[in-house]
């Protein structure tokens, strides 16, 4: 069947190569050679467009659902899927390659999004700071609201950042909504800094990069990236993960076909392509995420990363994350 579709697509493309438009978040990056091979194989032309960070991207898709921006979307994750679903943005397609993705990493049964990769949002800390100040590491979220850890932590805002939202979901999952909001207020009173986005937190406020906060909300793979992107060879990462219970979140990023596509066959092939061996092996050290398909070999530097033991977030919390964000904005951010 697939071969027939391919040859039909090829015949149609004999006159003019079909163009497949793929919309992604800004961090997307893939080896151009792999894309060229896909184009040659399918007789198509792939056009990538970037739509801001994942949250902005979703909003752009919702605003323009009457005239879809693209055929395929990559980069929506498990915290954004509920909104994409209720807006009716995606059309179901389950890639055969999903068979090689372990069950706990699959995004949804209908196949609106096919998991391409996963990662862990986690707190990192500046090792040198804790050594120099002879400070014991905090052991729980509650510790972060205590005086000895005052003004040490910077996190991203759940209202404007996907890592921030992941952290909020994780705290609510761990503490329950009321106690979580209470914790956020206490932590803020204790000098928890809230920034808008990841790069503000990491490059401006994190003590390793000139800021004054030795604990930062980032990813569990960031210590490995620190080694990989070090200015000179390192044998240990200058940062490490601080895996407090209720502070880590498993983020699943997926690819899906947008409703209204005029290139359905090609779009589905692209979904399969994202789950193919070549792309899965190329992704990790470009985007610092784990490949969703099992059995893909990781580069050596990944030994500096950690796979935390994460309690999965309760399904009902993922039903309407926006309501949680609204509650956070009124009860934490705007509360004086």
């Amino acid at each position: 069947m697939r071969n027939i579709l391919v040859s039909v697509a090829l015949m149609a493309g004999a006159a003019q190569a079909a163009t497949l438009t793929v919309i992604t978040h800004d961090s997307f990056d893939v080896d151009k050679k792999l894309v060229a091979a896909f184009e040659a194989r399918t007789g198509s032309k792939v056009r990538f467009i970037k739509g801001g960070d994942a949250g902005e991207l979703l909003n752009k898709l919702i605003l323009t659902r009457g005239a879809p921006l693209a055929d395929v979307v990559y980069g929506l994750d498990n915290s954004l899927l509920p909104r994409a679903r209720s807006a009716g943005l995606l059309e179901a397609y389950k890639s055969p390659a999903l068979a090689k993705v372990p069950a706990q990493f699959r995004l949804d049964d209908a196949g609106l999004l096919n998991t391409v990769d996963y990662g862990y949002v986690a707190l990192n800390y500046d090792k040198a700071y804790f050594e120099q100040n002879k400070l014991a590491l905090p052991k729980s979220l509650e510790d972060l609201a205590k005086p000895e850890y005052a003004r040490l932590t910077v996190v991203e805002s759940p209202a404007t950042s996907s890592t921030g939202l992941a952290f909020l979901l994780s705290t609510v999952n761990h503490l329950g909504q009321d106690r979580a909001m209470q914790w956020w207020r206490e932590a803020r009173a204790n000098g928890l800094r809230v920034t808008r986005g990841w790069s503000d937190a990491y490059y401006k406020d994190f003590s390793r990069n000139g800021g004054k906060y030795p604990i930062v909300l980032s990813y569990a793979s960031s210590p490995a990236a620190e080694v990989a992107y070090s200015e000179k060879p390192l044998t240990a990462s200058p940062t490490a993960n601080l895996l407090l219970p209720g502070s880590t979140f498993l983020q699943l990023e997926g690819v899906g076909v947008l409703k209204g596509t005029k290139q359905r066959a090609l779009a589905r092939q692209f979904v399969d392509f994202m789950l193919s061996g070549g792309v899965q092996a190329d992704f990790p050290t470009r985007m610092w995420v784990y490949p969703a398909v099992s059995g893909v070999k990781l580069a050596d530097v990944w030994k500096y990363a950690q796979k935390p033991d994460v309690t999965p977030v309760k399904a009902n919390l993922l039903q309407n994350p926006q309501a949680l964000v609204d509650a956070w904005v009124t009860q934490v951010l705007r509360a004086r």
């Binding site: 990538f48 801001g52 605003l63 323009t64 800021g211 980032s218 992107y229």
Partner: protein
């Protein structure tokens, strides 16, 4: 005579007006129609507080910019200062600096481990300094141009009649230069009232401006009706400010030929060089800190970051980044000169305050809302280059109009009349008399427009494509990943952007050092 001239003016401005309609008015209306306007949001004390902060920081920045910028501009226009042209040209650098780089630079100086040993982070102090970093150059350049138009003999007459230098400056030069000073203060107010990037990065959630709230409501929370109400309020404020400015700035002096200027002495010299040092610190020290960041490794100086940029396997290659940056900036410059130039010409010919006001519209509306309007209104153009260039042009054109219009108004009518009497056709009189007189202003406006575009990055504005990567988008991409190498390369890219800007200004300026 005046009837046909008025009609001709509107005719000349018509394409620019059509452009404003297509890329400003219609998109904005489309967004407001999509979401509606929920005026109730103004009842929320939170948003009223944001409004108060927006106004306070804009007024404060304007006041400080006038206090520091005006005396310096005056002294620069009256006294010979070695390297003045270079200084004025370099003043455009903060303009091209992407906000995150400015913030990194300011923090490197005055952050927790700042080179100066003072920590201003988390205080309004750093935001005010950042505001001045971006806006002081605008103030100085516009005030300088205004003072340069003050006739020297008026000042000399005052001095002959016994007035002190300061008194002559205050009673003769200042009133004559008032339109230019007000123009500068108004632009500073408008830029600060609409400021987005700096409070976004430095302000956290405590010092957010209306534009930051509009961005959050639009891009992240998709509450268009509440954003619509904020857009309306913001537009009202900026319209009032601009209306007041146009009403105040009704007169303008004539351009003066460059003369030999005396050197400043004693008290005047002390004041001049103190102010110069202060401005240089505010406007250049953060940039130097960033440049330093591009060669400062964990232990001592390193070339690793620059080497990373030019490495043969760099993706995208530096040549693509440079090529795109130059191509987009060039196309935008062309667009801005056409749109902004014809708009100024039309407003001058028609002597129309309305046309004048309309040219300022792009500075008054929220670019974030416009971007949403483009998405909704132009489905087929959304990821096409012309839309990106149009959006850039929209932001840059007012700067050309603002520079050109005062210069056109200052051309003595008698000169063109003389040319006509001697048998020149209107077109020839324009080409041989008017154009050469306003060319410096056109070049200055072009340089400002170019500066706006070089530092702009399109991601928040319209959908971008990976093959359109520019120096600034590449920089943001690096700042999206951890590691010393990424931060260092981002600093190197920022440095490159500054060098490119400096080269572009020098080329535009024709090496004559005549910048208005």
């Amino acid at each position: 005579m005046s009837g046909p001239r008025r009609a001709l003016g509107w005719l000349v401005a018509a394409p620019a007006l059509a452009f404003l309609l297509a890329f400003l008015a219609l998109p904005l209306v489309r967004v407001l129609r999509e979401g509606g306007v929920s005026v109730g949001v103004w009842a929320d004390p939170y948003f009223r507080e944001r409004l108060a902060f927006t106004l306070a920081q804009a007024l404060g920045t304007s006041a400080l910019a006038v206090t520091i910028g005006t005396p310096l501009a005056y002294l620069l226009s009256r006294y010979a200062v070695p390297g003045k042209a270079t200084f004025l040209r370099a003043l455009l650098l903060p303009f091209v600096t992407p906000t995150l780089v400015a913030a990194l630079g300011l923090l490197a100086l005055l952050g927790p481990h700042g080179l100066l040993g003072v920590d201003l982070s988390d205080t309004p102090g750093l935001i005010v300094l950042g505001n001045l970093f971006f806006n002081l150059p605008v103030m100085i350049r516009l005030a300088y141009a205004a003072f340069a138009r003050v006739p020297a003999n008026a000042l000399n007459a005052a001095r002959t009649l016994g007035a002190s230098g300061a008194r002559a400056a205050w009673t003769v030069a200042a009133p004559l230069a008032l339109p230019g000073i007000l123009a500068g203060a108004t632009l500073v107010f408008l830029y600060s009232a609409l400021s987005f990037g700096l409070p976004l990065v430095l302000g956290g959630e405590r010092y957010a401006t209306l534009e930051v709230e509009i961005y959050t409501l639009t891009a992240y929370e998709l509450r268009l009706s509440e954003a619509g109400a904020l857009v309306g309020g913001q537009l009202l404020i900026t319209l009032l400010a601009t209306g007041a400015y146009l009403w105040l700035a009704r007169t303008s002096g004539a351009v003066q030929a460059t003369r030999a200027l005396p050197r400043a002495r004693r008290g005047t010299a002390a004041l001049l060089y103190t102010l110069l040092a202060l401005v240089a610190f505010i406007c250049f020290a953060p940039l130097l800190a960033v440049t330093f960041g591009s060669v400062r490794g964990t232990d001592g100086l390193t070339g690793a970051f620059w080497a990373g940029l030019i490495a043969p396997d760099a993706d995208p290659p530096l040549t693509l980044l440079l090529g795109n940056t130059l191509r987009f900036a060039g196309l935008t410059l062309l667009g801005a000169l056409t749109v902004g130039g014809t708009h100024a010409l039309g407003a001058w010919l028609a002597r129309s305050r309305t046309l004048d006001l309309l040219s300022l519209l792009p500075l008054m509306v929220s670019p974030i809302s416009l971007a949403v309007g483009y998405l909704l209104l132009y489905p087929t153009l959304r990821a096409e280059l012309p839309l990106l260039i149009a959006a850039y042009t929209l932001l840059a054109a007012p700067l050309v109009t603002r520079s050109l219009l005062p210069a056109l108004r200052a051309v003595p009518p008698r000169l063109t009349e003389a040319a006509r009497t001697l048998g020149s056709s209107p077109l020839r009189a324009w080409g041989t008399v008017t154009l050469p007189l306003v060319l410096p202003a056109l070049r200055g406006g072009g340089a400002l427009a170019l500066a706006t575009v070089l530092g702009e990055f399109a991601a928040t504005l319209v959908l971008t494509r990976p093959e359109w990567a520019t120096l600034s988008t590449a920089m943001y991409e690096r700042l999206g990943r951890p590691g010393a190498q990424n931060l260092g390369e981002a600093c190197a890219l920022a440095t490159l952007l500054m060098l490119l800007a400096l080269a572009a200004f020098t080329a535009l300026d024709g090496g004559k050092g005549e910048i208005t």
